[in-house]
């Protein structure tokens, strides 16, 4: 009988594990002397660690983990999408940004979307279906980084093999993926190939069941064998263009063949003596991350208090001003003039800070004039190795499940990043052929006051990306919080106008005081993926340990060795 009871207990314990609690804040961080990989999935972090153990560098590990993430988190990213990466090898004087954002197809036009009387795109065409698809940059970007900055000690096939294996064997449905599938059922059902992959006879897989994507495994094997050409030319390109056209889109095989990544110089700023390096346009994220931190640097946040009304109010007001600037100025700098150095100038930040009243909330702040100081569902991963090599990659297919267009026979789910343009003529971010849509993606690197590698950080979360990254940086540098604690701390997000969104763990007294200051609050969950999913790795010079942190709001996990 005792044995039976023991078996019963084991069964109960096992069923608890299988059920996977949707939220588990414990055990997300890791530390070790040789390397840390922090991604939005434990399996992808392990892929990166295995690559480091085989003698690869941080870039090799990051690229292997990035391809694996495309398989493991197909609802947010993959080879049908694009992104941005910033990396700095310990031997490099300057960090490098690889912009592998999607571009608008050649046949695209500023007025290609039909709008209703309120300026909204009709029939979800901006987010669902062929017209929403931009030319994917994921494969070109990841393989460029591997070729240019990888250790050369591992072959492309070795880097892609874990992703191929996972696509073949299947990925487990987690509570997070389960919710995302259920939330996106309308989109998934609208595209039969997408429904065939993600549903079983019309219903979602149960948590713990596996979704296999053998077509994607075959596509990845072609890329492993032929490189980027295997994706952008030939059989795969023909299938992509044909399916996009079938779903009402305009992307052609010529668009795919002519896709090119951009290698850019990072935007540069400082916060409390630490150097911040991040991505320039076509992402707005890096610039506005620095602009926001510059404004916050004018305050003694430590004295104002963590999670206090005064601190939360200043974050909210600064975010309003930054988003006002974003709407007015930000676009692809290959097509528009953007006052970048003004936006990141300390003097401009002081001017913005002077507009913030400590006593009341602004209702509709206007953009500033930075020119006088001139001289967007997504995933993030961070890798750092013992040499001090740092890689930060944020990549995306747009909204959850992208355009919904899944290319039959390839397993590729295509992006909907055309929705990140302003869908009418006259804006700096209007649609033009070959132009990159504006993004908020902000993979970033921090150097310590001596210029040494300190931290790699980034997050998904659409326009909350850079505001989230800024808050985590502040938690570490202003309040001395350990990395994992800084990631777990409650967040807020304030757009240009409208309500201030809060995680409800922010103290009730702070919430009440914010209301008194005139803020209209939207109370979200205690731990809400709305506020992103930060993955970061930090070097602690005192202990000579690499410390990884990952976000419990999604399936984040850091692994070290």
């Amino acid at each position: 009988m005792k044995r039976l009871v023991a078996i019963a207990v084991l069964i109960l314990a096992a069923s608890g594990i299988t059920a996977q609690e949707p939220f588990n804040a414990a055990g997300r961080g890791a530390q070790g002397p040789n390397g840390v990989v922090a991604t939005a999935k434990p399996e992808a972090s392990q892929v990166g660690i295995d690559i480091l153990k085989k003698g690869g560098n941080a870039v090799d590990a990051a690229i292997a983990a990035a391809f694996a993430m495309g398989v493991l988190e197909p609802d947010t990213n993959g080879i049908g999408g694009g992104g941005f990466m910033i990396l700095r090898l310990a031997t490099m004087k300057e960090a490098v940004v690889i912009d592998f954002r999607e571009v608008a197809p050649t046949a695209s036009k500023p007025d290609m979307f039909k709008l209703d009387e309120r300026g909204r795109i009709l029939n979800h065409a901006g987010t669902d279906g062929g017209l929403s698809v931009g030319v994917p940059g994921d494969v070109a970007g990841l393989l460029h980084a591997l070729d240019a900055f990888g250790s050369k000690r591992l072959t492309r096939a070795q880097i892609l093999q874990p992703a191929i294996h996972m696509a073949t064997q299947g990925i487990s449905v987690t509570a997070n993926l389960d919710k995302n599938i259920k939330d996106s059922l309308e989109k998934i059902n609208a595209f039969p190939a997408c429904a065939e992959l993600f549903l079983q006879e019309g219903l979602p897989y149960e948590i713990g069941e596996k979704i296999k994507n053998p077509d994607l495994a075959r596509t990845l094997a072609i890329i492993a064998s032929k490189g980027a050409e295997g994706f952008y030319k030939g059989e795969i390109a023909v299938k992509i263009a044909a399916e996009v056209k079938k779903q009402g889109g305009i992307l052609t095989v010529q668009d795919l063949a002519s896709y090119a990544i951009k290698v850019r110089k990072p935007v540069r700023g400082t916060y409390r003596g630490y150097t911040i390096l991040s991505v320039p346009p076509a992402s707005s994220g890096g610039t506005h991350l620095i602009e926001l931190l510059n404004v916050m640097e004018t305050y003694d946040l430590k004295a104002l208090g963590r999670n206090s009304p005064a601190t939360a109010h200043r974050w909210s007001e600064a975010m309003k001003l930054v988003f006002a600037d974003r709407a007015k100025y930000m676009a692809d700098t290959d097509f528009a003039t953007v006052p970048l150095s003004g936006l990141v100038s300390k003097a401009y930040a002081r001017e913005l800070a002077a507009r913030i009243s400590p006593k009341e909330s602004m209702t509709a702040p206007l953009p500033g004039n930075p020119a006088q100081y001139e001289s967007g569902s997504t995933t993030h991963l961070s890798v750092m190795d013992k040499e001090g090599n740092m890689v930060s990659i944020t990549k995306s297919i747009g909204l959850l499940f992208g355009s919904g267009v899944l290319v039959p026979g390839t397993g590729i789910l295509l992006n909907d990043h055309m929705s990140d343009f302003v869908p009418k003529p006259g804006s700096v971010n209007s649609i033009e052929p070959g132009k990159r849509p504006l993004s908020s993606i902000s993979p970033s690197l921090l150097l310590d006051p001596k210029g040494k590698s300190f931290m790699t950080i980034g997050s998904p979360g659409a326009t909350r990306i850079f505001t989230t990254v800024a808050q985590v940086i502040s938690n570490i540098l202003d309040f001395g919080m350990p990395l994992q604690e800084a990631i777990a701390a409650p967040r807020l997000a304030q757009p240009h106008t409208g309500n201030l969104s809060l995680e409800t763990r922010l103290p009730a007294a702070t919430q009440k005081a914010l209301g008194t200051l005139g803020h209209k609050l939207t109370l979200r969950g205690d731990w809400d993926p709305y506020f992103g999913g930060v993955q970061a790795v930090l070097y602690d010079a005192k202990t000579q340990q690499l410390i990884g942190g990952a976000d419990p709001r999604r399936d984040g996990q850091a692994i070290a060795f």
């Binding site: 069923s15 509570a175 059922l185 059902n189 219903l203 979602p204 948590i207």
Partner: protein, 188 residues
Amino acid sequence: MRQAAPLICTLLLLGPGTVKAQGFNLKAPIATQPTLVTGVGQSADIEMVKVLLNRGKVVFKADPQAKAGALAASGSKSLVLVIGGSSKGLGAAGISAEVDIERAKGLVAEARKLGLKIIGLHVGGEGRRGQMSDKFITGAVPLCDYVIVVATGNKDGLFNQLCAKGKIPLDSVDKIANAGAPLLKAFK
């Protein structure tokens, strides 16, 4: 005891939801076809219920934002409420949680006037619980004549409490696909 042991292990392995699903608590069909399916909380879970009804060949119309005024003209003879909140769904519909709850209450009041039976389903599991979804659950479940829940959405027994209070038959199933059987049995 030795004979009972395998049964104990099996029951533990399958979990309480399945145990309840073997014998449904609704003893006789209550609802007439065609039925009107609407959302309470505007989650995409309504898509799953449409699949279940299609599988069972139940005649239905689906309108996530069905309003009281249109119920009589729809010709519907019963009402299915798919309960569970989605900020994405509410945002797309351009309504607040409070507005959607009021709409549902108005719809149910009209259904009562017309003599329609009301079935509530919560098929979103644990992911469709929490502060926002619970508003819809506590608002809508007491209005139903019969409730079906996927067990992972009822780990804390909220549905048991609400249904016990209103003396509403409740059936719990272990997974979404298994919600089809009690749902179909509810229709004449």
